[in-house]
């Protein structure tokens, strides 16, 4: 058992409550935990969709999200997005995205994200679709992306939006 100083107890309890909600849809790959992969629904004929998730690394060594594949898309790309003087710039990330040792990588709106390029079909609200992620150390892991309303800004579990 871990001994926690009293001050950290309340946030720890709050965190564990959050964690248990997130674990409703989480995956393990070695020392990596992947929480609630989600995607926005797409319009008929829309060729591109975005994907988001949180990856935690419990190990002492850095890992790296290198690539991905999915049956729903011709290509899975890693992108970043920045706001530069009011101008939105999206760029494909070369060489993957670091998942720092004992740290967290968040793929979220306004930041790093996955782009599903050349969607083979419409992504419909409420469904899940598989994506195989490849990490430098942890290797391959297949996770299910939950398709959420286009208006989502963060993952939803049991109908409640989380941020």
């Amino acid at each position: 058992m871990m001994r926690l100083p009293p001050k950290t107890l309340v946030p720890a309890l709050a965190l564990s409550a959050l964690a248990s909600a997130a674990l409703a849809h989480g995956y393990q790959a070695g020392n990596l935990g992947i929480q609630h992969p989600w995607s926005r629904e797409t319009a008929p004929g829309q060729a591109v969709g975005g994907g988001f998730m949180t990856i935690t690394n419990k190990s002492q060594s850095d890992d790296r999200l290198v690539s991905g594949t999915s049956p729903v898309a011709a290509e899975v790309q890693l992108h970043t997005m920045t706001m530069d003087g009011g101008v939105m710039r999206m760029r494909q990330v070369e060489g993957g995205i670091a998942v720092p040792a004992r740290g967290t990588l968040e793929l979220k709106p306004g930041s790093y994200h996955i782009m599903f390029m050349g969607l083979k079909r419409q992504l419909r609200q409420g469904e899940r679709f598989p994506v195989t992620l490849r990490f430098q150390r942890a290797g391959r892991v297949t996770v299910q992306f939950a398709v959420q309303p286009v208006t989502s800004t963060g993952p939803i579990e049991n109908g409640h939006a989380g941020h």
């Binding site: 829309q46 101008v87 939105m88 999206m90």
Partner: protein, 209 residues
């Protein structure tokens, strides 16, 4: 005015100096007023900026009909620029406008939401219609030819540029601001993506008041 003869020349200079200061003061006030006006184009009819911003445009709606600034006149509107492949600023802005409209209740329909795709290469008018329909509130999706888009981008001071991607595809860098326009087509303000919903809501209330 009690000038002696001896002081007459100096006094004349003093008067001239006073007059010059007055002129300078008035000029300063006028230029400050102009600067203030430019910085605060709040729909004042005497305001040049509000009039020149935006201006004429012709774009195509999802049903194929042409939409110009005259089509939009008569109702305030919030207009912004993007593309359907945009990862999050565009859906986030669209979702936000839909949410703010809901928060305005019955007043929510007192303004139009206009989304202009600056990616005519990927976004055909009908595709754009399908995309904006996802947001659950009436949104007018417009696009046009490169020349038509150049015209409206210039009018609204919007930057957008194609950026080649590995593999031959491209993405688009673009201005993310939301422009608020009055029923007369005059610039009223902007909503920035970093502003709180409360601030944005206050601006919309002012727009439709």
């Amino acid at each position: 005015m009690q000038d002696t003869e001896q002081k007459e020349p100096r006094s004349g200079f003093a008067r001239l100096r006073t007059a010059l200061w007055l002129v300078l003061g008035v000029a300063t006030m006028v230029s400050l007023a102009v600067i203030y006006d430019r910085g605060h184009p709040a729909g004042d009819p005497a305001n040049d900026y509000a009039h020149t911003f935006g201006g004429p445009f012709t774009l195509t709606a999802p049903d194929g009909s042409l939409v110009t600034e005259k089509t939009l006149a008569g109702k305030p509107y919030a207009i912004f620029f993007g593309f359907t492949r945009c990862p999050d600023v565009c859906p986030t802005s669209l979702a936000r406008m839909a949410r703010l409209r809901k928060q305005l209740g019955a007043d929510g329909m007192k303004f139009n939401i206009v989304f202009v795709s600056v990616d005519p290469g990927h976004d055909k008018p009908a595709d754009l219609g399908n995309y904006v329909a996802l947001f659950g509130t009436p949104i007018l999706g417009l696009t046009g030819t490169d020349a038509q888009l150049e015209q409206i981008k210039k009018g609204y001071g919007v930057y957008s540029a194609k950026v080649p991607q590995p593999g031959g595809d491209y993405t688009i860098d673009h201005t993310a601001a939301i422009y608020l326009m009055t029923a007369r087509g005059e610039f009223s303000g902007t909503i920035d993506h970093q502003e709180s919903d409360a601030t944005a809501l206050a601006k919309l209330k002012r727009l439709i008041a």
